[in-house]
């Protein structure tokens, strides 16, 4: 009996070590690595590898960031590479691939620390081909002496046109560097040529690729391999449990979590790596939360050929609804402001369709395509979607350029104050390339209204800066001051830039202003200290809410009713209070707050302002309702995700997440105002402040 068992085990072992189902090589019965004899390329580091240094590499990246180590426990032979890559640099080791067309999978083994590795194939300029990228991720195979197998999915190479191929390496988190051995490129056979496409609605790319900037990008190049059957359910269980235990608050869990978990369940039966990992990305997107996101994922191998240097926002197309009616669910989409190369668009022009559907419906269709997909938590807020249509990709925008085939506009004439009756459809591939000038950032502000210290109208780069001064076209006796800013990151530092600016501003306004206009139309949030500080201008001290986050009790669905919420507030108002106001506030100073796309600390700030006797909030709709913080998770090679976690309970007992702060005056930018060079929301705010001037 014993002999039979041993025989069976030995047979099993031989099957195991010799199986052709390996990602790369195999192990012999002693655990010695055996490379795939058919490997197309192999680096065992028995001798120094040839490195590639790009001509534009920084000086600090020029010296070799590796050495050959002689190790008893090298994976193959006795040589391994010890990497110690300088921060913000990468090491590149050349790989010789066959000159014919082929399809490959790369594997490598690393240990000690962490390693971001990718295969990069660059083609000759004459070929016109963009680079091929294939990232390597863990397969789950490890050795008892610390080696971890990394593997890419399949990638195709047009061998005859290759300029160079290399493995790009970034090491970190090792005590004394990161070991690398047995870099192997195995031949898989069938060559899949690079394909062009028109947009995400184009089926040319097939189910496992994404059309980005008119190029089919294989999704598998950016995600880990399909997990082995033996660990797949455990991996799905783990991901599902992070969502189930840690995500959200009362409204977001009730409304969005079930759909997300159903999407995760689908990962169990995924047939391809892209289906599996894109399934998880889609699940995260289905959580429909302002703080919740994935990172990594496919990217265009080269930027779009054309430029659409324009910004869009929600508005009221009062000059063109006769020729194209308003959508029953969504606001109209208007051009807010433009830079050079904007396809002839001007402020007040109207974007009526992308690929034949309403622009916001089109953004919603990207949920399983765009890994940067991002939603407000409040289900009735689409400001983030509108803002991302235009602007540069480096600010998270540029969706039309990346994913659309065509878009349809109604052009208007500011001289005659009329709009065309005939929509015009523009093909994205026909957009001309950039001719110069700054990329225009999208901040939902058609223009600025400070008389000094004005943000640049040529680029709208407000970002982390705070601009304040007298409001333009007002008189010194009116003493109306304003602030334009999007950043509430006080960082817990009362002497930092943001808190100092806010404290100085409020002191000046209390001393010398008769009215204030706060323009926060691209509120990126930050930390609660800055939000609290601003409220000290307008109301007495009180505890407005309690912050219960990250999620206090795993999987907590939140208070069942207002009474339960009230009990939570009462219990934690001393230890977890969101405290607003100040005894030294100015009860006579009118403060107009203009909002448009605002989330997180930029939810809390208006929440703390609203209801103060001399505050009036102007905006097109409620804020994002992102009343929580978040927990981050980082996997390998840039893949990661963040989950909103926790909720905020108001003094009324009402959980706040998922329901933004509604404006006191719901007002949309009007198309007719844009054509006349007016900023509707600012005009309304200024008018109100003038009526309410401090005596």
């Amino acid at each position: 009996m014993r002999r039979r068992d041993l025989s069976g085990l030995a047979a099993l072992w031989l099957v195991a070590v010799a199986s052709p189902d390996a990602f790369g090589g195999t192990f012999d019965s002693r655990g010695q690595y055996q490379k795939d004899p058919a490997a197309a390329a192999y680096l065992d580091f028995s001798s120094p590898p040839e490195r590639y240094l790009p001509p534009d590499a920084e000086m600090k990246c020029e010296p070799p960031m590796f050495q050959i180590e002689t190790l008893e426990d090298a994976l193959d032979g006795t040589g391994a590479l010890r990497l110690d890559v300088v921060p913000d640099c990468a090491e590149r080791l050349l790989i010789q691939l066959p000159a014919e067309q082929g399809s490959y999978r790369a594997t490598a083994w690393m240990r000690h620390g962490s390693l971001n590795a990718r295969i990069v194939v660059e083609y000759t300029e004459a070929s016109g081909l963009p680079s091929t990228v294939a990232k390597l991720f863990p397969t789950g195979r490890v050795t008892s002496d610390g080696w971890v197998e990394l593997a890419s999915n399949e990638f195709s190479v047009a061998g005859a046109q290759v300029e160079r191929a290399y493995i790009r390496l970034v090491s970190f988190a090792g005590v004394a560097g990161v070991d690398l051995d047995a870099v192997e490129v195995g031949s898989l056979g069938e060559f899949n040529p690079q394909k062009a496409c028109t947009g995400q609605a184009d089926f040319a790319c097939g189910p496992d690729a994404v059309c980005i900037a008119q190029q089919c990008v294989p999704g598998q190049a950016y995600v880990p391999v399909l997990p082995h059957d033996a660990i797949r359910d455990d991996m799905v269980d783990m991901l599902a449990s992070r969502l189930r235990l840690f995500f959200g608050g009362r409204q977001s869990r009730a409304e969005f979590l079930p759909d997300a978990l159903a999407e995760v369940e689908g990962m169990r039966t995924a047939k391809t790596a892209w289906q599996f990992w894109n399934g998880f990305a889609t699940a995260v997107h289905r959580l429909h939360d302002w703080h919740t996101s994935v990172r990594g994922g496919p990217d265009a191998p080269r930027p779009p050929s054309g430029r659409l240097n324009a910004c869009f926002f929600e508005g009221d197309a009062d000059s063109s609804q006769g020729s194209w009616p308003k959508d029953p669910r969504y606001h109209d989409i208007l051009v807010s402001h433009v830079g050079p190369d904007a396809a002839g668009l001007k402020p007040g022009d109207r974007l009526v369709a992308i690929d034949g559907v309403h622009p916001l419906d089109w953004v919603g269709s990207l949920i399983a395509v765009d890994w940067g997909f991002h939603s407000a938590t409040d289900p009735d807020n689409f400001a983030d979607w509108a803002e991302r249509l235009g602007g540069p990709s480096w600010t998270g925008g540029g969706l039309i350029l990346k994913y659309a085939t065509s878009f349809t506009v109604i052009r208007c004439d500011s001289a005659t104050m009329t709009c065309s009756d005939i929509p015009e459809t523009v093909t994205v591939a026909d957009l001309p390339p950039a001719t110069g000038g700054d990329d225009i950032a999208c901040d939902n502000r058609p223009s600025y209204h400070l008389s000094t210290n004005i943000p640049s109208e040529s680029n709208h780069y407000v970002f982390w800066d705070i601009f304040r001064g007298p409001i333009a076209d007002t008189t010194p006796s009116e003493a109306i001051f304003g602030m334009v800013w999007d950043n509430l990151f006080g960082g817990g530092d009362p002497n930092g830039y943001v808190n100092t600016q806010i404290q100085d501003a409020t002191a000046e306004w209390k001393a010398g202003a008769r009215g204030v206009i706060l323009d926060h139309r691209a509120g990126n949030g930050g930390t609660l200290d800055a939000a609290e500080n601003l409220t000290k201008l307008v109301r007495p001290l009180e505890t407005a809410a309690v912050t219960r986050m990250p999620i206090e009790i795993a999987g907590d669905e939140g208070p069942a009713d207002a009474a339960e919420g009230q009990a939570i507030f009462d219990k934690f108002k001393t230890s977890h209070g969101y405290d607003i106001g100040d005894p030294g506030h100015d009860p006579l100073l009118p403060v107009a707050l203009i909002l448009h796309r605002d989330g997180s600390a930029s939810d809390y700030m208006p929440f703390g302002m609203k209801g103060a006797p001399k505050v009036r909030i102007f905006g097109p709709h409620a804020t994002a309702g992102a009343f929580s913080t978040f927990i981050e998770f980082t996997y390998w090679n840039g893949l990661g995700f963040a989950l909103a976690s926790g909720d905020t309970i108001a003094s009324t007992g009402q959980p706040l997440i998922g329901r933004g702060v509604a404006p006191d005056e719901v007002i949309l930018p009007r198309q007719s105002d844009l054509l006349a060079g007016k900023d509707t929301l600012h005009e309304a705010a200024l008018s109100w402040v003038r009526q309410e001037l401090k005596p």
Binding site: W13, P138, A173, I231, D237, T629
Partner: protein, 263 residues
């Protein structure tokens, strides 16, 4: 529960299939879910033929996301918290200097050097680690465990492991351990907690003489299926309290209410 049993059964089948279909068999297939207590012994592995010579290494297949799935620590297995030098964020694990006044990067070990999963933390001397967690739902109490591979010569009390309220840092329990590491050099720390209505986190001070390893931190509902260490009530000395408050200040004051990932 029945579903979990179903998975376990299918996993048992899967391991045979895995060995039949995959190289590197001898695979440590049964590492997930991680038991809440006790050792994490790999499944029996096929033995190489007797005449093959000394075994250099064994190969196993592990869940790169760690586990167990019900872990109330956000990243107890340390699979989702490794960052390049100088980067930080609101991750499952965060490290601080020995006064708790500055955040540090965490070094990482890999593969079979770790107890579970693909990655584990290098526990350096004179550092503080903080692990994010949540309280058990349904009025359940808690069972906690954590494994540290000590530096040679260090006893298990070279690390102090506390369960604390995440927000106030009020100490809930000091996890207890054997006096000395096991034969592999690992100490297991454990403890139980009654039900809590605020989140439970882990605060750890390393007084190791040289770098060790930290892995497999698990916080689970105390549903009677395990026999954990009880842990001890532990009033902290003033210097420890000061360090804890310093860490708390960094975490609380910098808690972000804006886009993750620098978006």
């Amino acid at each position: 529960m029945s579903r979990r049993r179903g998975h376990a059964a299918s996993a048992a089948v899967a391991i045979v299939l895995a060995c039949a279909l995959s190289p590197g068999c001898g695979e440590e297939r049964g590492v997930n879910p991680v038991p809440l207590s006790g050792t994490n012994t790999p499944d029996p592995v096929p033995t190489p033929p007797a005449d093959a010579g000394p075994v250099k290494r064994t190969i196993s297949l592990r869940n790169p996301l760690g586990g167990p799935a019900g872990n109330l620590f956000a990243d107890g297995d340390f699979e989702l918290s490794a960052l390049p030098e100088g980067q930080s964020g609101q991750y499952g694990w965060r490290a601080f200097n020995d006064t708790g006044t500055a955040e540090l990067s965490i070094k990482v070990e890999t593969g079979g050097l770790c107890r579970t999963g693909l990655r584990c933390a290098v526990l350096e001397p004179a550092t503080i680690l903080f692990a994010r967690g949540a309280a058990a739902a349904g009025g359940n109490g808690h069972v906690a465990s954590l494994w540290i591979k000590m530096a040679p010569g260090d006893a298990c009390d070279a690390a102090r492991v506390l369960l604390v309220f995440c927000d106030t840092f009020g100490i809930l329990k000091k996890l207890s351990s054997e006096d000395e590491p096991n034969a592999d050099g690992w100490c297991e720390y454990g403890g139980v907690l009654p039900p809590k209505d605020s989140s439970v986190c882990l605060y750890l001070e390393s007084h190791l003489s040289a770098p060790g390893l930290l892995d497999s931190a698990v916080l689970g509902p105390d549903d009677g299926t395990v026999s954990p260490h009880s842990g001890v009530i532990w009033p902290p000395p003033p210097d420890t309290s000061a360090r804890m408050m310093a860490v708390r200040e960094i975490i609380r004051r910098r808690m972000r209410f804006g886009p993750p990932f620098g978006q």
